[in-house]
Amino acid sequence: MPSAATSPPTSDQNRVDARTDSRSESDWEGVRLHVVTGKGGTGKTTVAGALALALAQNGRRVLVMEVEGRQGLAQIFDTTPLPYAERHVAVAPGGGEVWALAVDPEEALLEYLEIFYKMRRAGSALRRMGAIEFATTIAPGVRDVLLTGKAMEATKRTRDGRPVYDAVILDAPPTGRITRFLNVNTEVAGLAKVGPIKSHADRVMALIKSPRTAVHIVSVLEEMPVQETVDGVAELTSAGIPVGAIIINMDRVAHLSATQQRAAIKGSLPRDTITKSLEVVGLGSKRTTVAQIVDELCTEAHGHAVRLQLETTERQVLQKLEHPTYTLPLLTEGADLSGLYELAQALSEQGAA
């Protein structure tokens, strides 16, 4: 695996052949730009990484990019911090490639000046005057246009007449800010009604509102994240931005059936039966008596059952949104690289790729 490169190699015959292999239908045929959002703490970066692996499988090439300067992708792919250059970070099942990029707004602005105005050399003068900082951290909307603009550029980039990337995944800002982030031309219109930056925003907007884009929202089954997901779907929809899937992350294994949950909540689990079973396997000692174990197991069951009932309610709320939902398991050992492949597999099996 190359440790660093500025851009992927040109057409690789093996890859192209593999891509034409038969593969199962995904829910997102035709989607090229996958935007992943979610409330803080729901694991959206992990899901973005897993989705990248899933979409790259069987010989495809995808780019996953982050825009918030957190180096979250480097963490989950277990690599050194990403520079502002596309880097091959993982091999997908069946021989695909995942590339990653951490977009730096200042670099993106200089690149934009270079591409559109051949003005890269003016950059240092602008930086001295504080104009680069102004444009990338302060000017309303400009930062977001640069970041989404970079995603557009990667999505549309071609080499030898075919796309460089089969899909681009954008690890985007949290749900609370996603509509404003993506709705760049409204944002920029507050500043510029006409002019080059406005036209650039219009081009970005055309891609974002098209069927080639899908915004996936990651949630966990708790009240606040679910509420934010519901609000996010409504906001995106009214802004005309296509909502993709709802991804339920960190789903716990239900150890108890519905009947057992009700009994656990009422405190009516059959203590005698539990006691007998524990005695059969010889659990219990002087230090920890069987009765103490039964007490603890019933207490734990109570907490688990209350949580499961809440999760059931929240799951129904998400399912009512009428977008495809995928469920990813809670990795009790933490989301390391092998966990990421496990999540990619789960996404793939459920039709995300």
Binding site: K39, G40, G41, T42, T45, G69, R70, G72, L113, Y117, M119, A122, L126, M129, G130, A131, E133, F134, A135, T137, I138, P140, R143, P173, P174, G176, G190, L191, A192, K193, V194, G195, P196, I197, K198, E223, M224, Q227, E228, H255, L256, Q260, T273, I274, S277, L278, V280, V281, L283, R287, Q292, I293, E296, L297, E300, A301, V306, L310, T332, E333
Partner: protein, 390 residues
């Protein structure tokens, strides 16, 4: 040296502390912690204002916040005659706070010109960093009123859900120095050029700069910015002064920072950055609140033993399936707690001087004052995740 327990009650009762800042990455329960600390402080006899930035709907309702009116409102049902404490709460209205600064520093005519300027409108609603700036501005205002009336003696502030937890420290200075900086002087040059020499020198830079800006943004944006700079001129240096004053206040002995995290790698990493940054800026850190901790198990039964027993029971048929499930559930709980302990200890090993209090996860979300009281109680007692021998 073992990690000290963060004594929340002692912190809240300390009358030399007038500002408590809750910070941490998104989704760790910052706002809930700020609200729970507010309720507890009021019931310990303090007169408290909780400044929230963007509370979840039910949390806002539990504090009686139904509208965004930018003024502290008394929360009914907290504190009483015995303790003498009280609680007020407010949600930040960023645009209104910005407008108020303009109103208080410009004459009415000039204020109208500023309000009508498109660049100001964009600046005051969607300026990256405006929310952080205005949160700190509001904090400064609430602090300034401490001495004047006796409505409150403690301001608890929740920090904005920024891209980085550190933004609220940096944004005010960044905005302040931008408004008072070289760029603005260049932009303002045609409006206020004085002597002949300065006109020429300034215009050389301005010509280049305005050329670039016009090509990128368009001429109209530049005209708006110049209009704004012209009208805002006198207010610029004041913004920088205010940002500096707030920064000084945060470094003073009457402020305490509480870093909030969950026992997850990302949240703890952000917490580490934060602790290091506060150290560097000589800002007073009270300690770390570790939210959503998997509750301790009360018995000595390892995950391995529980899984082994569950497997044997599963082999014996359906009669034992309930107990087998309960044992597997127990094993999951033990594994999760051990993982959280391991992650938290990596933090405490690196920051031994930081007192910590761990708060066990509640099965249900916060929806009223009683659940905030319950969290307050958990904050007082603390879970022993990082304080007990493993």
């Amino acid at each position: 040296m073992t990690t000290q327990l963060l004594d929340v009650d002692q912190l809240l009762k300390d009358e030399s502390i007038h500002i408590l800042v809750c910070c941490g990455s998104g989704g760790v329960g910052k706002t809930t912690t700020a609200a729970a600390l507010g309720v507890r402080a009021a019931e310990l006899g303090r007169h408290v204002v909780v400044l929230t930035i963007d509370p979840a709907r039910r949390l806002a309702q539990s504090l009686g916040l139904t509208s965004l009116d930018n003024e502290p409102r008394l929360v009914a049902g907290v504190g009483d005659a015995t303790t003498g404490g009280s609680l007020r709460a407010m949600m930040l209205d960023m645009k209104r706070t910005f407008d108020e600064i303009v109103e208080s520093h410009a004459d009415p005519e000039r204020a109208e010109t500023i309000f009508a300027n498109p660049f100001y409108q964009a600046l005051s609603t969607s300026f990256a960093g405006t929310q952080e700036y205005m949160a700190m501005e509001k904090l400064g205002q609430l602090h300034a009123r401490l001495g004047h009336d006796n409505d409150w003696d403690l301001v608890i502030v929740d920090t904005p859900p920024s891209r980085s937890a550190l933004d609220f420290l940096d944004a005010p200075r960044r905005l302040g120095s931008f408004l008072d900086g070289r760029l603005m002087r260049l932009l303002a040059a045609p409006a206020r050029a004085g002597g002949r020499l300065s006109v020429r020198v300034v215009n050389a830079g301005f010509g280049f700069f305005s050329g670039v800006l016009t090509r990128i943004l368009g001429a109209q944006v530049l005209r708006d910015i110049q209009g704004f700079v012209g009208a805002f001129d006198a207010l610029f240096s004041d913004f920088r002064v205010r940002a500096e004053a707030t920064f000084d206040l945060l470094q003073s002995g009457e402020t305490a920072f509480v870093v909030v995290a969950t026992p997850e790698p990302d949240a703890l990493r952000e917490a580490s950055y934060f602790v290091e940054r506060l150290d560097k800026e000589q800002m007073p850190l009270a300690g770390l609140v570790l939210n959503r901790v998997q509750p301790a198990v009360a018995i000595d039964l390892t995950a391995e033993a529980a899984v082994a027993a569950a497997q044997r029971l599963e082999a014996r048929g359906r009669a034992h399936s309930l107990t087998a499930s309960l044992l597997r559930l127990h094993a999951d709980a033990v594994v999760l707690r051990e993982r959280q302990r391991h992650l938290s200890e990596r933090f405490t090993a690196a920051h031994r001087h930081v007192p910590v209090v761990a708060v066990a996860a509640l099965a249900e979300d916060v929806h009223d004052l009683d659940s905030l009281r319950e969290i307050g109680e958990l904050l007082r007692t603390g879970d022993d995740l990082v304080h007990s021998p493993a």
